[in-house]
Symmetry: C4
Subunit: 165 residues, 4 copies
């Protein structure tokens, strides 16, 4: 039963594009990519961090604004411009920050496939690619950028009786 697994999670790792966003990026005149995020995801993220969940973000993208936004929500460990997500994960394990047996991952596309296969709880938005959906323990009914982060964090908070707090 996936809820039993989710309840035990102590670290939640998230991808950004297609998870915290809908996969669209706004291209400004310099070619920088700006993102649109979701307020309800933000509410749950803040609440989960305050409730003791360790949230880590690992993304291939570079967006100063997204980092600032996540920091303000209480997410301190934000890795951007990452080419090899497994390498980042390995460092986090080696330094004792992450214990795979209590770690969850939410991703949506190919660069998430290998790292996702390592963690205890694998989840994704409803519009993830087929390869990701196939290995997921839980597929949210929400799309990326439309509440998939909120969905899993709200579930974790409720399972740990910290939603109403």
């Amino acid at each position: 039963m996936y809820l039993t697994e989710l309840k035990k999670i102590q670290t939640f790792i998230f991808d950004v594009d297609g998870v915290f966003t809908d996969g669209s990026v706004f291209v400004n005149d310099n070619g920088d990519l700006l993102r649109t995020m979701n307020i309800r995801d933000g509410y749950a993220t803040k609440k989960a961090v305050r409730s003791g969940l360790q949230i880590i973000v690992i993304t291939g993208g570079n967006s100063r604004g997204v980092v600032t936004r996540l920091n303000r929500l209480g997410v301190e460990k934000v890795f951007t411009g990452v080419q090899d997500k497994i390498a980042v994960l390995d460092e986090l394990i080696d330094s004792g920050v992450v214990d795979l047996s209590t770690t969850a991952y939410m991703g949506d596309d190919m660069p998430d496939l290998k790292i996702m296969s390592k963690v205890a709880f694998k989840c994704c938005p409803s519009d993830a690619i087929p390869e990701i959906i196939e290995i997921a323990d839980y597929v949210s009914s929400n799309h990326g950028g439309r509440g998939c982060v909120r969905d899993v964090l709200e579930k974790w908070l409720k399972l740990n009786e910290k939603w109403g707090a």
Copy 2:
């Protein structure tokens, strides 16, 4: 009958994110959150204010642009960065600005739950969270940012025979 209640409303309090917007926020390079609003909501807001309805906005977010926009529509009381909406409501009651028996509230998410339970008329967009929908006297058929504000204000204006004016 909810229309009888709505007709008597003299003060309408609105949340911003998920009500005047669809809950998406555009993150700029500084991590500031910029919003997309709806022209038809704006039309009804302006008309309702001119017709004597007191409109108040209370939001957890901070957006200078949203405040300016609302001010231009005639909404003078805009409270931003609010952590505790009940505290703001209590001050408004104490200072005689708000009379709960003729006050309505439209919200969509957890931070709206308590304040909404206090007012005479509770309403929400169709994509509000289940907890909000459960206590609502009226659920608009429109989503947040897609005309839910217009819907309730147009109804109020028509009930008070001020829509065609």
Copy 3:
């Protein structure tokens, strides 16, 4: 038959919000409202102007960018910040710019209702308000900002055998 009427049109007046756009406005830090337009609408607008159709835009909104964009497409008469669309129309009639018997109008909301009732050919996007849809000679199957302008201009161009040209 509405196509017979459309073919004879020599002047096409358009609203902006909800017609050239989907009714959403992006609010920047100053409270200015920025718009999203549609490339296919732009293609047809440019082609129609070059084919001899007089296109006029009358909007309640103020957007320097929209004016510049429309000018570049060949639309020279763009009236912004208009409170009373009928007054602008009357001036255009008095100065001989517009002949109502060969004029069409596309609008979507209350401020379009009176001016629309004056012209020879009335049309609207599929998501116009019920009051507008009720008086329309033709309701496009496209939403505002999603090709409703393209739809009517392409039809006009085809009827006048100028689409393939």
Copy 4:
């Protein structure tokens, strides 16, 4: 069988608006048109270029940001502000850059019609105009800006056994 044809393609030419984007353009205060692109399209573009596919972009629009973005993905030949796409194609053929018998094109609107009719493999997003859909060898099930580029490039990569690499 269209997959046999697609496998042999060595050059893929793309339109921008309605293909890499959903056809919407954000109009800033200067009337400049800014675009929203898709991260998954970007992933496949980068991978295809690295796998030896020549990708060329020809667009009627002007967007410095889009050019920078495409360059960063490895697309070096980006032609913007193009009035006559056939003229650009002819130059590419004359200079030996493009061999029509192994060239594909993805477009969505009238300015793509003639150039598309020349190439060996014609494809389009699901929301292309009827004239384009009629001549397409393959219609992606994805809309413009919502993964149609990803779809055809992923198929090409898989056919050439370079997707997992």
